[in-house]
Symmetry: C2
Subunit: 318 residues, 2 copies
């Protein structure tokens, strides 16, 4: 698929950081940054800008905070055309900790929110736009929000913000290609001058397939992570997405190299990807939380039927 306007955003450090408490070494971060730059990736999300009051820095790695100085030092001396950004969650950011864009190493800020929180997200993107950043709104848990509230949220975003892109985020890894068609139609009917983005999770091995479907239906910014690293089942693998896109500016080889050097060893320490508890929550359109809890327990992690029954018990109720 070649369409000049398609852009790729890597969120390995941000979504992948959920797997290891953002505990990537500076050396690893440099290797990732270099690989993404060499591969021609358009945007890189470095992590979160989490509130240090709510999440003490002693308890998480550097990339949960993305301090400008830390990031500037980490990328020093590496040639790159990528635009850098970070994510904030509604209600988990201190606005004072965000410098004006002209003093920052970052170009863009993505605001993640549930559809019901869209007013708070609109306040944040307007604040960040006033500070000079490009912004996006990432609507989470889209699989549980495909009703009239979504239309209203999109209409508000269109009318009240200057964000350049709006994402459908399949947080639960639950949607099918038919849902993509439905979502894209909805987004396109409300958003007149904004790019549409898609961020998938891989609970049902559909993150990449849904990304392709979103591209076919007109999405122009796609999230991916190296080797699919990301919360629970992970995300759309960057190496697959780059292989699909026929734009000659992309080169998958540096991504293959950094998988060999850093992600194969990482896979021996931490776990992500297609695993049955995550598949169950995805297929049932549920948050992966109960599956993640279960996976942490060596005695519980293979009790698949119990998980399935616990999530479907309402159906059997009289």
């Amino acid at each position: 698929m070649f369409r000049e306007s398609i852009k790729v955003l890597d969120c390995t450090l941000r979504d992948g950081g959920i797997c290891n408490n953002w505990d990537f070494s500076v050396e690893t971060v440099r290797a990732i940054y270099k690989a993404l730059s060499d591969a021609g990736v358009d945007y890189m999300e470095f992590g979160y800008r989490a509130s240090k009051k709510q999440f003490p820095p002693s308890e998480s790695g550097l990339w949960r905070y993305c301090d400008d100085d830390v990031v500037r030092k980490a990328i020093e001396g590496i040639e790159s055309n990528m635009k850098l950004g970070f994510m904030v969650d509604v209600g988990r950011v201190e606005l004072d900790a965000v410098l004006p864009a002209d003093q920052s190493v970052f170009d863009f800020i993505r605001v993640a929110c549930y559809v019901k929180e869209v007013d708070k997200a609109i306040f944040l993107v307007n604040h960040f736009n006033d500070k000079g950043y490009n912004t996006t709104i990432n609507l989470m848990a889209i699989s549980q929000s495909m009703d009239v509230r979504l239309d209203e949220a999109l209409q508000q975003i269109q009318e009240e913000t200057r964000c350049f892109a709006v994402y459908a985020v399949d947080s639960f890894g639950s949607i099918y290609c038919e849902d993509i068609d439905f979502i894209m139609s909805k987004f396109q009917s409300q958003l007149k001058d904004k790019i549409i983005g898609f961020h998938g999770h891989n609970n049902q091995q559909l993150a990449y397939a849904n990304s392709i479907q979103a591209i076919i239906r007109g999405a122009d910014i796609l999230d991916a992570t190296i080797y699919g690293l990301g919360r629970a089942a992970g995300n759309c693998p960057l190496e697959l997405l780059l292989s699909f896109l026929k734009n000659p500016k992309y080169n998958v080889r540096p991504i293959l190299d950094v998988i060999a050097s850093h992600f194969i060893p990482l896979g021996e320490k931490i776990e992500w990807g297609y695993l049955i508890p995550y598949m169950i929550t995805g297929a049932l359109n549920e948050h992966p939380r109960p599956a993640m809890t279960m996976m942490d327990s060596p005695t519980e992690r293979n009790k698949f039927r119990e998980l399935y029954d616990s999530l479907t018990s309402d159906e059997d109720a009289p």
Copy 2:
């Protein structure tokens, strides 16, 4: 997706057997047979009926041969409505070793061939139909055979056989949903009274997504394997397919149980699934052979760029 006519065929023992030289214990085979029966799966492929002259029984497990007596004994005492079958490869079967259907435990025989071998496959399915079996022709490596030779092969199958189904087999795990649309149109235009089947490989994490697309476009028999067990990157996971199909006759719980009891332990001994060498051959529309060779060598298995370059070197040639 609910359509009464959709049937599910499990080929865990056959395609999965490629991973462990068909060395499943009788106890494991009974557990699989029971789980599939309880789950409401329609068809079960027990393995191959390989030529014992070409493949000495001392060198492979029982399910490479699927002797009637062995299979009959293995399933003894387990209640089931499944139809049983085996696969033969063109040129690798002894016809004398196939009993008349009324003396056999098997209901169906699937003949696998490349498009260029279709005449040999037609001979075989006619032979097996004469013996009283239901038959299918499974056209392998479809991603490299989407041209006029495919039309001719399908026309011949329509005119010269009584097989009940014809499969598109994505042996290399290379096709995208757009290819499914193309293939389904081709198959539908040539095959007037035959069911269309799809068998995917998961090199690009698309086996399940492509199966859904095939269903949407009219395929009525779908292959899957438990936990995706199958050659190299494996197949469409049965637990995903059953979760997608809304026919109440299917029940995913027994499949979850057998994954916990038998496939999680198996995964500690042998390797299959989404791994970068297989992703590379899939993305480049190549046979997984060089990737499989590479994966067998502890010193070579992570040389991803070398594999990629070796398969794309022609493109760079002057």
